[in-house]
């Protein structure tokens, strides 16, 4: 019996030792940024960069970046501000997944990260949840002119009259066409349908048109483009739900006509950006809708069958004109950051002309500062940035509804629109359901 007790306690002891060893293991990496005293946030004058400032480390979280852009911009920042060290934290590339990671982290009021990249659809939600710092005070103090930025990108980060994020790089839906098959892109959706029917099969293609119609966030960007091109809106500037309109119904009808036509792949309902890109660079289609990044993959000798045969244009127009959905990323500061002043310094740098130029040149990201498109170095990155049409697309890009409950709005729209495309309901029903459900969600 004595022996058994001994054995038992020794086993427990072993287990305990395991715990302790591992705890020690972690402690070293875990506390990187705690002890610095809170020199920051005293606001105002003393923010001038001085060499005697205490060194601080801030943590910058962002989605996976396969380009050298982020590293380069951090390096440039650290050279300019030697007392601030920037550590990177990678988040999943998937927008939804990284959103959920940030929610877990920020809702526990963790100060682990200081600065993070936010999708254009997050600012209102994160502002309302009190996760991020309002930047107006900083913007005013440092005299940053928000009018230098594309209006859509600023509007997307503005909620309740305050600015919650700085635009970092932008994205907008664009239209691709094969120059070896057509000379001129279609001007309207009807022309697109006509031309796709006619041209599919030519030049080794199988399909006329590619777009994103799976049930996910990308469906909303595609739908918004249709709706806006017919003059419809989901939520107006006074925060009223106005989605149930003849314009929306007409737009959804057109979208359905295209999705159910035989010039798109049969599995278009499973298409996201990745599927679009794969089919496109295989040379399978005449036209496609995607984000600007597909230009460089189209010209990638390693993978693409259609090098030098691709050009981009604005999306086809509806009754009201053409519209491109706004994408891209913002930079925000964690409300519970222990170094807001240093964090702001970093945000200011990467969203300013200097930082944006580096991310454009090294990472191929589209700047949000209109003036940068005149810079010859930026223009040299790709024909896209030199293309005046592209700047125009960005200038007029339409943001998705700015609402603190955007995820819920998006979820409702995804389901209702998806049901139209699968033929489970009519466009009228969808418009009515969206109206009712979004109104109910907002009223709750």
């Amino acid at each position: 019996m004595k022996f058994s007790k001994l054995a038992l306690s020794s086993l427990l002891l072993i287990a305990l030792v395991f715990f302790l060893v591992a705890c020690n293991n972690s402690a070293s990496t875990d506390q990187d940024s705690n002890d610095e005293s809170d020199t920051s946030s005293d606001n105002g004058e003393q923010a001038e960069e001085g060499s005697e400032e205490e060194p601080v480390t801030i943590v910058y979280a962002r989605g996976v970046d396969t380009t050298p852009g982020t590293d380069a911009v951090i390096k440039a920042f650290e050279e300019k501000f030697p007392h601030i060290k920037v550590e990177q934290r990678e988040m999943p590339a998937d927008t939804g997944q990284s959103h959920d990671q940030y929610v877990t982290l920020l809702s526990s009021q963790s100060s682990e990260i200081d600065v993070f990249n936010a999708d254009v659809i997050w600012p209102a939600e994160f502002a309302q949840a009190n996760y991020v710092l309002e930047l107006d005070r900083f913007i005013e103090r440092d005299g940053i002119n928000m009018e230098d930025y594309f209006p859509g990108t600023v509007a997307a980060a503005n909620f309740n009259g305050k600015q919650w994020a700085m635009p970092q790089y932008t994205d907008a839906g664009v239209f691709y066409y094969r120059t070896d098959i057509v000379d001129e892109p279609p001007a309207t959706w009807d022309e697109l349908i006509e031309m796709s029917n006619e041209l599919k099969g030519e030049g080794g293609t199988e399909y006329g048109y590619l777009m994103q119609a799976a049930q996910y966030e990308g469906l909303i960007t595609n739908a918004i483009e249709f709706i806006a091109s017919y003059g419809g809106e989901v939520v107006d500037e006074n925060n009223n739900v106005v989605v149930n309109s003849p314009e929306t119904i007409k737009a959804l009808e057109k979208m359905k006509e295209i999705v159910t036509s035989d010039f798109v792949p049969e599995n278009i309902l499973n298409f996201m950006e990745i599927e679009t890109e794969n089919a496109w660079i295989e040379g399978n289609a005449v036209f496609a809708r995607n984000w600007p990044y597909m230009m460089s993959s189209s010209n990638d000798e390693e993978r693409s069958e259609i090098v030098d045969n691709v050009e981009m244009a604005r999306l086809p127009a509806g009754d009201e004109g053409t519209a491109a959905a706004l994408g891209g990323w913002m930079t925000m500061i964690n409300r519970y950051s222990e170094h807001p002043e240093a964090a702001w310094e970093f945000v200011k740098f990467i969203s300013g002309p200097e930082g944006q130029k580096i991310t454009a040149v090294e990472g191929g990201r589209a700047p949000t500062l209109s003036a940068l498109y005149d810079d010859p170095e930026v223009q040299g990155v790709s024909s896209l940035f030199a293309n005046p049409e592209f700047r125009e697309v960005l200038q007029s890009a339409v943001p998705r509804p700015v609402s603190p409950i955007y995820p819920e709005v998006s979820d409702i729209m995804q389901i209702e629109i998806s049901k139209v495309l699968t033929g489970d309901q009519t466009s009228e029903e969808a418009a009515k359901n969206m109206q009712e459900k979004i109104e109910a969600a907002m009223a709750e």
Binding site: M1, F3, S4, K5, A7, L8, L11, A15, F18, F19, A22, C23, N25, S26, A27, T29, D30, Q31, A61, G63, V64, D65, T66, R89, E90, M91, P92, A93, D94, T95, Q97, Q101, T104, L105, S107, S108, S110, E112, E273, I274, E277, N278, E282, W291, Y293, M294, S297, E302, R303, S304, E305
Partner: protein, 273 residues
């Protein structure tokens, strides 16, 4: 039962294994194709196989580090979970304690709640303990979620061991703990090794907790690491296939090594009723 099968048996076996393995075989074949062939054809073999994907998989991300992390986390989880679970299972099946049903029920209740719903509290708990980005930060949750299964399986095993053996050990003057160690554990070896494999692989596979708790690249485990190969709009299939093949091999070796123990124990041991 010990007959050797004929040709038909082996033929059947080969077809069966092929079907089971097909997705994995396809992943392997994909991993040695050059990138532009991956989506363009259904042909099985590429004319110019390349190891470029393997090189990319190992250099683009610290895959070896992920494997070490996963290996340490899963091993610690397995050892500790087996210790805790075999204690509990032994006490519940062989010792005269009260509330056995309640204990087993409580333990089972722990695996009834959707794991996604305890991520937030778990995150706060681990943060509170200062265990973010460490091995223990994952081991503690993993042990806990694998305990129910481990305890229940071991309990069914311990239950099957004849009481006569224990009684005779007792008559020889062995203490209950000695009985447990010298009689029960060796006899239940197949159960323990089976449970070990199950717990190990479950810990190796876990994704959500690992993603949330260890956010620093140095501490990431294999499933999270592999998902990090993709960027916002592209999935590099070549790299991911290569990485999947690389991380699966050690598991296969491990199972090959341990599966011998699964079939020893009871059948080969001294127990014949």
């Amino acid at each position: 039962m010990n007959k050797r099968g004929g040709i038909e048996f082996y033929l059947f076996l080969i077809i069966f294994v092929f079907l089971v393995m097909f997705p994995f075989i396809w992943v392997f074949l994909t991993s040695i194709k050059p990138p532009r062939e991956i989506f363009s054809s259904f042909s099985w073999f590429t004319s110019n196989p390349t190891l470029a994907s393997y090189e990319a998989a190992l250099t683009n991300r610290p895959l070896v580090r992920y494997m070490i992390n996963s290996f340490v986390v899963s091993s610690l989880t397995t050892i500790l979970a087996l210790v805790f679970a075999s204690f509990t299972a032994y006490a519940v099946t062989r010792l005269p304690i009260k509330g056995k049903g309640l204990i087993l029920g409580l333990v089972l209740a722990a695996s009834m709640f959707p794991q996604i719903a305890i991520i937030s509290p778990m995150f706060s708990l681990v943060t509170g303990l200062g265990l973010r980005n460490s091995y223990m930060g994952l081991v503690i949750p993993y042990i806990t979620i694998s305990l129910p299964l481990a305890i229940w399986i071991l309990a069914t095993f311990f239950k099957k061991i004849p009481f006569e053996l224990e009684e005779s050990a007792k008559l020889d003057g062995a203490s209950p703990f000695q009985t447990f160690r010298k009689i029960i554990l060796p006899l239940a070896a197949p159960g323990i090794f089976t449970t070990g494999i199950l717990v190990f692989i479950a810990a190796w596979n876990e994704y959500l907790f690992a993603l949330t708790i260890n956010s620093d690249d140095l501490w990431r485990t294999v499933p999270v690491g592999i998902s990090m190969y993709q960027s916002q709009y592209s999935i590099p299939w070549g790299d991911i296939s290569a990485a999947t093949v690389i991380v699966t091999i050690p598991i296969v070796i491990l199972v090959l090594f341990f599966q011998k123990r699964i079939v020893s124990g009871l059948t080969s041991g001294s127990v014949k009723e």
